[in-house]
């Protein structure tokens, strides 16, 4: 879909950043339309944070251009700071201040935005209004960090791993908050290495690896791109000599077979045909099955299929 430049919230061209020993971002191009919730996905070290911090004006790139809301850091830094909302990875806000004092401080930096009480209500910290930051739970701290990002009524919101390290309930609360913000029509860029997070929140996703975008599209498009909708994992008893990968790949409905940690992982187009075929094949060879699992293909499977590695592999 062609977009005219003034509809783009983010336009990154040929972005490059190298540290002494490693190229963190390698000629990256990225376009995000106004009102999109866009996910940058990838394992640790893929270059997500470097990319987002260059966009936030915290790092300067070695090459390439960044245009946000039609503005650039070189010319319009002060204006951009007013219009961006930023939540960084692992910021610890001052533990001695209360929730309200922290938000009031950040609110004082912005020309416009909601009142302090409204922001506190938005992130559901009314009961913790007078509590010290040091006494908050991880999820509450994260919602406070979100409040500090939202306090200037931003047109463009950057969230760097907003739910890393949170328990499932706290993650859900942060997701609710992000979904609420989406309904206001502002643009969100978020990084994550949780696939379910990206599938739930993001309209479009760029999968990054080694500083490059290796795949781009809606979660459904990306999953469809591997050509299989289901994943089958199984394990067998004893030696695996009797079972070769080629034999499995020839089975009906099976597309790709991978062998890992002594188990098998198959991408499958038609689950109802592939599973009986696998059973027959194993029975014919007299190999007992010890474990069998199936799930719908996810972005995780897309990443594995693209790189041969899992996202959480360090």
């Amino acid at each position: 879909m062609p977009t005219t430049p003034n509809q783009l919230a983010v336009c990154v061209r040929g972005l490059r950043k190298a540290y002494s020993d490693v190229v963190a971002v390698d000629h990256l191009d990225l376009e995000v339309g106004a009102g999109e919730c866009f996910g940058l996905l990838g394992p640790n070290g893929a270059g997500k944070t470097t990319t987002i911090e260059i966009c936030e004006g915290l790092l300067s790139p070695d090459g390439g251009t960044v245009e946000l809301l039609g503005l650039t850091w070189e010319r319009d830094a002060a204006e951009l700071r007013q219009r961006l909302g930023v939540q960084l990875q692992e910021t610890q806000l001052s533990e001695k201040l209360t929730v309200e004092e922290t938000i009031r401080l950040f609110r004082s930096f912005y020309r416009r935005g909601p009142a302090v009480g409204e922001v506190i209500a938005m992130v559901q910290l009314e009961e913790k209004r007078g509590s010290r930051v040091g006494a908050l739970s991880g999820g509450q701290k994260q919602r406070l960090a979100m409040a500090c990002a939202l306090v200037g009524d931003p047109d463009l919101l950057f969230l760097d791993e907003p739910t890393t390290g949170l328990d499932p309930q706290a993650r859900r609360q942060v997701w609710d908050l992000i979904e609420h913000f989406k309904t206001t029509g502002r643009t969100i860029i978020l990084t994550t290495h949780y696939m379910d997070e990206a599938e739930r929140l993001c309209g479009r996703v760029a999968i990054m690896d080694h500083g490059k975008v290796i795949s781009l599209g809606t979660p459904r498009e990306l999953i469809a791109s591997i050509g299989a909708e289901h994943m089958v994992q199984f394990a067998i008893d004893g030696n695996t000599n009797g079972l070769n990968l080629q034999a499995l790949e020839k089975l009906e409905g099976v597309r790709v077979v991978r062998c890992e940690n002594g188990g098998y992982e198959l991408q499958v187009t038609e689950l109802h045909r592939a599973v009986p075929a696998i059973f027959d094949e194993l029975a014919r060879r007299g190999i007992p099955l010890t474990e069998l699992r199936t799930h719908s293909a996810t972005l995780e499977d897309v990443f594995v299929s693209l790189t041969g590695r899992h996202l959480r592999d360090e």
């Binding site: 936030e56 915290l58 960084l88 910021t91 004082s108 930096f109 009142a115 500090c148 200037g152």
Partner: protein, 360 residues
């Protein structure tokens, strides 16, 4: 979706008539105070510790009545002659008991009659008390025998405020306090904020960087007045330490000293990322000054070859200036050298710190 409309309503641009307390500089400065006052240890070191130290040392070095020296005499005539001097406590002893008392240190001098009407002084000449006792005893013996001074001497005793140890100590403690709170107050807060990536978060917002530094200056000025009032007020009220120089000139001196220590703190904190490294660096900077700058004893005691170094330290300049102002009533015009040293440190440290400073 009703939630969405509510949020859209909440997020509408609001531009209220802003109160002064909503100004970012006011908010940043308030944060400085809150962070300080909510740190009990910091309050203790800045306000309570110098008072405890001054009290302790004030009691230990309080002016006692002139010391009485214990001596022994063999024979009643000698004892009577010696008792004429009130600063000698004379014990009349027989010979063997006297030897015993001298060895045990109960007396520092033993006066014995010797052949031909003379006296013998038995004492340890490396003991200053014993040497004093010998001079006093000899004086008493000679006077009893009819000796008179060739030159008339009158006593003029100096025990008034201004020349006691506590008078010397209070300006020293004040200087030490200004150094500690300036260097720790700035250095620690900034390094801690950098370590927690709070500095990075702040510069990702539209916060003005100069307002951030200015908030430290403003909070320092307020804290400074409290610190000076606390330490000087305590000295004046409890120990009657004099403040002879003009008050506002003393205030200017404290201000310049505090600013130059704050600049030093800023320089120390300009790059360091961990609290451990910052503590090490601060101790490395402050320890020599605690030792050499004459907090507890005069810096003049260090060898002459060492003096240029000692005089160049900002704490030496601060304490010299404070003593001259409080005890001798010196005005700023007489403190040119000290002010020049402090201003030099201020300018060099501040601009180097600005050049080196890292927000990340």
């Amino acid at each position: 979706m009703s939630d969405g409309t509510l949020l859209a309503h909440q997020l509408r641009p609001v531009t209220h008539g802003r109160r002064l307390s909503d100004h970012s500089l006011v908010q940043l400065t308030l944060v400085r105070f809150r962070e300080f006052l909510r740190e009990p240890e910091a309050v203790f070191w800045v306000f309570v510790f110098p008072i405890l130290l001054a009290t302790g040392l004030g009691i230990a070095f309080r002016n006692r009545p002139a010391d009485v020296v214990k001596i022994g005499a063999v024979g009643p005539q000698l004892a009577a002659a010696l008792q004429a001097d009130k600063s000698l406590a004379v014990e009349t002893l027989d010979r063997s008991a006297a030897e015993q008392a001298l060895r045990a240190g109960r007396i520092v001098l033993l006066v014995l009659p010797s052949a031909g009407g003379g006296v013998t002084y038995r004492y340890d000449d490396t003991n200053p008390d014993a040497r004093t006792a010998r001079l006093l005893a000899d004086h008493a013996v000679q006077r009893a025998a009819g000796a008179r001074e060739a030159v008339a001497a009158t006593e003029d005793l100096v025990r008034e405020p201004g020349s006691r140890y506590i008078d010397f100590l209070v300006p020293g403690l004040l200087g030490m306090n200004l150094m500690g709170s300036g260097i720790w107050g700035l250095g620690f807060t900034i390094v801690d904020a950098r370590r927690k990536k709070l500095l990075k978060r702040l510069i990702a917002s539209p916060m003005s960087r100069s307002q951030y530094l200015l908030s430290f200056l403003l909070s320092r000025l307020t804290m400074l007045s409290l610190e000076v009032l606390c330490v000087v007020g305590f000295g004046v009220l409890v120990f009657r330490v004099p403040v002879r120089g003009p008050i506002w000139e003393l205030a200017v001196l404290c201000l310049v000293a505090s600013l130059s220590f704050s600049a030093l703190g800023l320089l120390i904190a300009s790059r360091v990322r961990t609290i451990e490294a910052a503590s090490g660096l601060m101790n490395f900077v402050m320890l020599p000054m605690w030792i050499f700058s004459g907090v507890f004893f005069s810096a003049d005691r260090f060898p002459a070859a060492f003096q240029p170094f000692v005089r160049a330290l900002p704490l030496t300049a601060a304490i010299d200036g404070l003593r001259a102002s409080m005890l001798q009533g010196a005005g700023l015009s007489q403190l040119g050298r000290q002010l020049a040293v402090l201003t030099g440190w201020l300018v060099v440290c501040f601009f180097t710190a600005l050049k080196l400073f890292r927000w990340r």
